[in-house]
Assembly symmetry: C2
Homo-oligomer: 316 residues x 2
């Protein structure tokens, strides 16, 4: 089956499936819409962790052991910064820093985040269209017993320790969804919209919070298929399971599917998980969803695409 595919993603798991989709499709068949709610300004640098995760995964630059940042990274900057008494809670690798410096400098010169991302992708040999969800700043914040915290303060500095009571996306209501992202969702040849295995609360919902985006997805004829970020009641990485619990939701893949009810047509659950209760309007698919190897990424991408193709109503 041919046609265009749009992927919504954020975080490392999402980046892995995007890599798989890139292997399964031709470059011109895929548009990736990336969460920027995690973005923040640190030491005067504009840091976009989810865009970087996607770029590094697509360019083959991801560190395979740490699971974040760049392979063959060095840490001289960080050691020197500590020696100067600088803020050292957010780890910045020497190679990673090149992306932050280049992006910050371009943004300060008036380029949009989309333009900068496009140029970085071209320089890294990435042919797929990678788009920030918006060129306007949207900042995820979480309400905890210690008050509202900026996302990276919660996620990195406090290592997700405070219990999350509420999540908000500051600026989302007045932000403009990235125009090419919206246009991609409205393509007549759209084959599938894939929601990657990312944290629903802080990776996918910031994207869905942008004006027009949820409507564009609802109006599309293309099937929407999400892939579970929860396997065996645990998140592969990050605080998704902890957040489900703190928000008094069941800690399961099925709870993530219910969270997406009304948006998705299909949901890929891990083959080892118990069969979920039926959910109106959502068809469940089962697959090996843990992505360790590159082959795992490709296979899971193919599963998600086949699920979407299976959900497509027969041509009139």
């Amino acid at each position: 089956m041919t046609g265009h595919v749009v992927a919504l993603c954020g975080g490392v798991g999402g980046a892995k499936l995007v890599h798989g989709l890139n292997l399964a499709l031709q470059p011109q068949e895929l548009t990736v819409i990336v969460n920027t709610g995690d973005d923040f300004e640190h030491l005067g640098l504009s840091i976009a962790p989810d865009l970087d995760s996607v770029m590094y995964a697509l360019a083959g630059l991801s560190d395979p052991v740490r699971g974040w940042g760049r392979r063959d990274e060095t840490w001289t900057f960080m050691e020197a910064l500590k020696g100067l008494g600088g803020e050292a809670w957010f780890l910045l690798g020497d190679a990673d820093l090149a992306v932050h410096v280049q992006r910050s400098w371009r943004l300060a010169g008036g380029a949009s985040l989309s333009e900068v991302t496009g140029d970085l992708c071209r320089a890294l040999g990435i042919a797929v269209r990678v788009l920030p969800m918006s060129d306007d700043p949207v900042r995820t914040r979480v309400l905890t017993a210690q008050g509202w915290l900026d996302f990276q303060e919660y996620f990195v500095h406090r290592q997700c320790r405070p219990a999350v009571q509420q999540v908000t996306f500051a600026g989302a209501a007045s932000a403009r969804a990235q125009p090419e992202a919206l246009a991609a969702l409205k393509r007549p040849d759209l084959r599938a919209i894939i929601i990657c295995p990312s944290n629903p609360f802080v990776s996918i919902e910031p994207i869905l919070a942008l004006p027009g985006l949820r409507a564009a997805m609802a109006e599309s004829d293309a099937p929407v298929v999400a892939v579970t970020p929860i396997i065996g009641g645990k998140a592969v990485k990050g605080p998704a399971a902890k957040m489900l619990s703190e928000l008094r939701l069941e800690v399961s893949a099925a709870a993530v599917a219910r969270r997406y009810a009304g948006i998705i047509d299909g949901f890929v659950i891990d083959q080892a998980d118990p069969a979920p209760q039926p959910l109106p309007g959502v068809m469940f698919f089962r697959a090996a969803t843990l992505m360790v190897s590159t082959d795992d990424r490709l296979r899971l991408a193919q599963t998600a695409l086949q699920a979407a193709d299976a959900l497509r109503p027969p041509a009139a």
Copy 2:
């Protein structure tokens, strides 16, 4: 002899003598006024090469082989930046970058260059007072056949190739000399003012161009002693000799002494150089002025201090 010493410097040769003065004196006996005409903004970072050279020399962090930057430096950032198609003509080591990022971030937050420099020095264990010549931006520019060039464009990007016809210090006339620097020059217990072996045109004259600075030196009872940056008709490092020639001056230590006429009381010339023509108001001293080892730095500092002490008029 006791009393306070003020050193004017810029560049690597100047930093070496400052290190020697630091070894010869107690920390509270020395104030260093550093050229900031070389400072520039690059990739959004505030870079202050001469301040860094002095800090690295005093902290024992200078690279002994390259002659600039930090020892045990790595270059991962630079390689990654090239991979992104970024501007690669100005080399930024990974550890060096920590200083630029920290400084830029502090300046953007409203701190003065003096405050930031003081904090960096404290973090690096530097007890001597190191002051930028001004907290206001002063930018050295050179007129060449290719028009006016920013200093680093001339110095690094074009590797000093264009012939210099004229030098200007943009912003100097309206800049405020660093108040503690001016105050140090006005101390009643001032023992000596040492002009380090730095390029007169682009390291020392930017300092002298600041309002009130030249007058404070003239009004001081303390002897002013300069150390030659030219040995055997050649600059140890940098374009001082080339500039002397391009500005139609004799390429010699004596020409530098003449350049400082009216400001200095003494001039330290290399022992291997020919005896200079007498210069009214200036006494010449001879010494081994090439600083290879740490001992060389200490010995040359002691020579400069002894020269100043010899020039002091007998107490009334």
